[in-house]
Symmetry: C2
Subunit: 381 residues, 2 copies
């Protein structure tokens, strides 16, 4: 049988055909006016996505590169930072800080749980010398969306800056940088930005720039002072991924056409449809505050969660994601992120129904799909 | 909302991404050894698809060009031909014959009905001077697949040749040219061959070539004697669509990998899943002998068939086909042809369920999808 490949993971996400085609255009030199014009047009577009008047810097790296950029450009050796750790990517903030000798106050949250702003406020009070608070917008490993607006309110009352990893969340769930007072916001290209992996974006407000000025952690490729000088000359310090810039420009056309609010609403509908379907099948959600990005679903009793993901991928070519260590097998993740539409939800749920039947789970075929259809046909304009 | 475009029509059909990418390769000159090598490799591949030892000629035209090629190269002014007319494309055979002054004996069949070989045998007996019998393998306007094997048996006992339009059928339903004794077989590129529209293929056996030698109907671009000379020199008489040749070569890789029997079985499974779903929804099939290519479904009482297709396309971006004149609105056609997989069936059925609900038809959402899932999960290897 011919099998089509369905990427249903929370990144990389599917890339629109019109965007893929731009990757086949000839590479022009990056130190030319022609490229500068394209690059600055993309930069302006990213400011729209970030909802900010600050500059947005383009890094040729994965999102993790932008996380490291935030740490090494804001802090100095021995500085204290608070890390919100509710999953794999919260953990990553702590790892990066540790590598650079930053003192970490970890707020450990159970996977799937949220953190209240008042709890963060308490920890900040206990650690008045905190320079930065690192958090995710969406914790990709669980699908939880944090109350970043609430975090920003409590952090703004202190000398610390709030650094938000919006890698899977930005463009799918609200995070207007300036309005909410997020000091540093960063994201990656292979999520809601609808292009292949390879670019990351980061923006600093004035409060954050003050920290950048005094930071003494070592950095070279990710040095933001160099980036700031370069952007004044409409360029980047080092060679950017030229074809990814073409692609990002093309994807931004779609985002602008839909508007940022429209794109977020799109994700909200897909999330609602997915969750309605999962519940109709009789499964339980894993995350306490599931967001627009992905739906994590508890593996039902008696089913091998790793086997479930394996059959989804191998037999049905539906590439959902399993849970990461140490929760492997305990739940699985269905993304509804980026260039996915209503029928991607239908495919995911249909594949899930079939896999559950294959594994002997008592599932009524079509029941989950029907629940998703009910949401989609009501909301689909 | 972001809407993806789902081509669910019986041609053009979706093109695999690996095939699309070949269309972006530089155009090399067609009068070079390099191109000849590619062209002859494609020709060999097409012989595999046709299941023939005869040469297969490549035309840069739509399938209709190949139909005209058959008529003008086989017949002479005033010759008599039998046309099996059970739909839009049977009608087309008659129109082409009429334009060229060929005397047509039309066997008119109700749309959706089949023709028994014994009935064809009778008409041949009544018209012993018949030079050619023109038929479809799959009548795309209704989804009916004819008994071409049976037709070939009765035609082989006469001096006439059997000309089979395999445009939508070849590669999706069996039609081994040599084994069945089909004298002329032709097809188009935008169906089961999985490339964009623009190429057509035609093959003649020895009995047919004898007619070509004496045919006096006017032709220039489609002159097969010129094509025969050219293929001896590993080329075409006129400029071929170079990038489509690249793409056809790439698509042939998929066909060879799956094998011709495997591809036909793939289509059979998709057809079974679609029909199971349609019946589960409570709708009726239109064709008496539905094949692997498409499923035509009667518009249920009280529903506007044109509106149904319109909402499928506009609201859900699911491009199924309506019925053609004079049956417009009376039924609609869901294709399962070419580069479509199990989830394309799920999408079509899910969209259909939602449209029926939108139109106030008493449909139990998910019921059709469940029936399709039952077939797919059993048959999906």
């Amino acid at each position: 049988m011919i099998k089509k490949y369905y990427l249903l993971s929370p990144g990389p996400t599917p890339v629109p055909e019109t965007v893929l085609a731009k990757g086949a255009l000839p590479i022009i030199h990056h130190r030319t006016k022609e490229f500068s014009d394209l690059f600055m047009e993309m930069t302006e577009g990213m400011k729209y996505v970030f909802q900010t008047k600050n500059d947005v810097y383009t890094l040729t790296s994965s999102g993790t590169g932008a996380m490291e950029t935030a740490v090494t450009n804001l802090l100095s050796k021995g500085d204290k930072a608070i890390v919100v750790n509710g999953g794999k990517f919260g953990e990553r903030w702590a790892q990066i800080c540790n590598v650079y000798g930053v003192e970490v106050v970890e707020i450990k949250i159970e996977w799937g749980e949220v953190l209240s702003p008042s709890k963060l406020e308490e920890v900040l009070k206990d650690n008045p010398e905190t320079k930065a608070v690192f958090t995710q917008l969406s914790e990709t490993s669980t699908g939880v969306v944090y109350d970043v607006k609430g975090f920003a309110e409590v952090v703004s009352k202190t000398d610390a800056v709030l650094v938000v990893d919006g890698i899977s969340g930005l463009g799918a769930t609200p995070c207007p940088m300036d309005e909410w007072g997020v000091n540093v916001l960063l994201t990656g290209s292979q999520k809601s930005l609808m292009i292949p992996p390879g670019l990351a974006f980061i923006s600093f407000d004035d409060k954050a720039w003050k920290l950048v000025e005094t930071s003494n952690l070592p950095k070279y490729y990710f040095d933001m002072k160099k980036a700031k000088k370069s952007i004044g000359k409409r360029t980047t310090p080092y060679t950017p991924a030229v074809s990814l810039v073409y692609q990002q420009l093309e994807a931004l056309k779609i985002i602008k056409e839909q508007t940022i609010d429209g794109i977020i609403e799109h994700h909200r509908i897909l999330g609602d449809a997915t969750r309605a379907a999962v519940k109709a099948i009789g499964l339980e959600l894993f995350a306490k505050a599931p967001g627009n990005i992905l739906t994590s679903v508890k593996t039902p009793e008696g089913i091998d969660g790793k086997e479930l993901v394996n059959i989804m991928q191998k037999k049905y070519s539906a590439y959902i994601s399993g849970a990461q260590d140490p929760m492997k097998g305990k739940f699985f993740r269905i993304a509804h992120l980026g260039y996915m539409g209503g029928f991607d939800v239908i495919i995911a749920i249909s594949a899930l129904e079939m896999v559950l039947a294959d594994l002997g789970f008592n599932v009524e075929l079509g029941k989950g799909v029907a629940a998703a259809e009910n949401v989609l046909r009501r909301e689909w304009k």
